[in-house]
């Protein structure tokens, strides 16, 4: 059993957010979409645990994109 961490866990949140936006600078929407997809895959592999991934998938779709 694993639980998706939903309490703050990123050590320097502003730095991460900044880096995330910077990653996409100068990219077309298609290029950005591919970079995001790679990011999801890399992080998903890091997590590994299917239960945690499933909770993340569910959380990403809720509540307002439902």
């Amino acid at each position: 059993m694993g639980a998706l961490k939903l309490e703050p866990n990123i050590v320097r949140p502003d730095d991460f957010y900044d880096a995330l936006i910077a990653l996409h600078r100068g990219l077309t929407p298609e290029q950005s979409a591919k970079v995001n997809a790679k990011l999801v895959l890399l992080l998903a592999n890091h997590v590994g645990n299917m239960e945690v991934l499933k909770q993340a998938l569910d959380a990403a779709r809720e509540p307002d994109q439902g």
């Binding site: 298609e30 979409a33 591919k34 997809a37 790679k38 999801v40 895959l41 890399l42 592999n45």
Partner: protein, 537 residues
């Protein structure tokens, strides 16, 4: 019983049936082997079944064995895989062979039996009246009628029998087209390309689409070109166009000729149930998959393997008709697994939406660099037999299985053994419909187990016993193989056998008459995963 269809599934059914000494009648619409070029990859399980049916050796000898697959994107190889991780199996993971050649070997084996195969006999009408099935058949001399107790419909994806009974096979058609070309290489070319499965995503010679290259027997190569939904099948089939595509792929100097060309659209679908009264569906008639994963003929032949002994017991009055429910349950489960796997492959090869394509391309780019992403690349998950985890024939184990051991409902795996001092293979000894494999380290069997085996041997449904001992074992780890006394009940090569070198002694214990008590399995001799034997009447 009548079999409709002489494709690989109808023929496997006929062979199984003939082997049981039964009268076999096969009706087939066509006048020759299967039209065109279809299946090429036959999996180990199919080969093991063919061994049982008497056509395994020629299939393996003529077939091209292969283990290595390579996946390319653009100009570079992303990764390669090797399919035979475990040594100690008699048969390879796969052989490649033209479907017509497989059918040819099946027919040769069938010709050695008294089976009646009527070509050019097309079934044009089917009616079920209570426990009989009435058929109308069109043959060159006109029309005639026949009736039977059981009809096995192996009449392919378009199944006229299914349609005539108003039944459906439902699922999805993939919006894509594939050009399938069989190409014979000549001269030096035949030696240039390896006996490996090569799959390209977006290669320079066929942009934005996928291509598969795979060797068959007699220097014939299968090439699949993904064409996209917009492609015009008639245009694409024109030889000059096909030759152009192949030259772009192989290079100008390569000498080849076209053996066969067709354009296919693939689908994944199945019937809700495979048993309808006295009509039983098997193979493509019951379920159809896209070919990525080579699951069509392979699973259809397993349908026949599953059905044969069950129907035989029913006809001999040794099992109730309800036994067929287990055919339905097990083969529906297998069909769902095959459909799931080939749908996933098809979705990877032909992404259905922009975001799906984005993830697909991202996966391929990452796969060039990182091993983790290679596990996500899906150019076909190749056919393996389904474990019937929830089969109604499974019974609870007397003891828990050791962790990592395949559980009840698993196919038996092969192992090298010595039998009468000669090296051989375990599966060859587990061919009987019901076999108890007794793993007895030193060869001695406690009285209570011997009594139980004697009782099983005395039943109307004969249960053979195979003793697997450790004599001559090369294995040193005592925790594996036959270190502890264990009894497994197998039917039709299902359940598991462990990997080790052991001696095999086949024997049918002397019949002990009817006075043996029903066995209460002792502490040490655990009956693993036995089917509920239909109780003798």
């Amino acid at each position: 019983m009548i079999i409709v269809g002489a494709g690989p599934v109808g023929l496997a059914m006929a062979l199984d049936w003939a082997r049981r000494g039964r009268e076999v009648l096969v009706l087939a619409a066509g006048d020759s082997l299967s039209e065109g070029s279809r299946a090429i990859c036959f999996a180990k399980r199919t080969l093991e079944i063919c061994d049982r049916l008497g056509c395994g050796a020629p299939v393996v000898d003529k077939g091209v064995s292969w283990n290595v697959g390579k996946v390319f994107r653009d100009e570079r190889m992303l990764y390669e895989f090797n399919l035979l991780p475990e040594p100690g199996h008699e048969r390879p993971a796969f052989v490649n062979l033209q479907q017509t050649t497989l059918e040819h070997f099946q027919l040769e084996a069938l010709a050695r039996t008294g089976a009646d195969l009527r070509r050019n006999n097309r079934v044009t009408g089917v009616v079920q009246i209570r426990d009989r099935v009435a058929l109308t058949i069109q043959c060159p001399d006109g029309e005639y009628t026949l009736s039977c107790d059981w009809l096995i419909a192996c009449d392919g994806a378009g199944s006229p029998v299914r349609k005539m009974l108003g039944l459906k096979s439902e699922g999805q058609v993939f919006q894509d087209r594939f050009l399938i070309a069989d190409v014979k290489m000549h001269g030096a070319a035949a030696a240039t390309f390896r006996t490996e499965r090569w799959f390209w995503f977006d290669p320079p010679f066929h942009r934005n689409q996928s291509v598969l290259l795979h060797k068959q027997a007699d220097d014939v190569w299968r090439i699949d070109f993904q064409l996209g939904w917009q492609a015009d099948p008639d245009e694409e089939k024109k030889p000059e166009r096909v030759i152009q595509r192949i030259q772009a792929m192989l290079g100008k100097g390569v000498e080849f000729s076209l053996e066969w060309v067709s354009v296919y659209t693939f689908q994944c679908r199945r019937m809700e149930r495979f048993v309808h009264g006295r009509v039983i569906f098997a193979g493509d008639a019951a379920h159809q998959v896209s070919p990525f994963g080579a699951r069509g003929a392979n699973s259809g032949i397993q349908d026949a393997d599953n059905l044969g002994w069950k129907l035989d017991l029913i006809l001999r009055g040794l099992a109730p008709v309800e036994l067929l429910e287990s055919y339905n349950a097990e083969r529906v489960e297998a069909a769902d697994e095959n459909i799931l796997n080939s749908t996933r492959s098809t979705d990877f090869i032909t992404p259905k939406s922009d975001v799906s394509r984005t993830f697909r391309d991202a996966t391929l780019e990452l796969a060039a660099q990182y091993p983790f992403a290679r596990k996500l690349v899906n150019s076909g998950r190749l056919s393996v037999p389904t474990r019937y985890a929830d089969s109604p024939l499974n019974t609870a184990d007397a003891e828990a299985w050791a962790p990592g051991t395949p559980g009840p409902g698993s196919p038996a795996t092969d192992a090298p053994v010595l039998a009468g001092g000669k090296p051989g293979w375990l599966l060859r000894h587990l061919r009987g419909e019901f076999t108890v494999a007794v793993f007895a380290a030193g060869g001695e069997v406690p009285t209570e187990l011997a009594d139980a085996l004697r009782y099983l041997g005395s039943l109307p449904i004969v249960v053979r016993t195979v003793f697997v001992t450790r004599e001559g074992s090369r294995r040193t780890r005592p925790t594996h193989g036959c270190a502890t006394l264990t009894a497994w009940l197998l039917r039709a090569m299902r359940r598991t056998a462990r990997q080790s070198t052991c001696s095999v002694r086949t024997s049918t214990l002397p019949r002990g008459g009817g006075d043996c008590p029903r066995p209460g399995w002792g502490r040490r001799c655990a009956a693993r995963a036995g089917p509920k034997l239909p109780s003798p009447q």
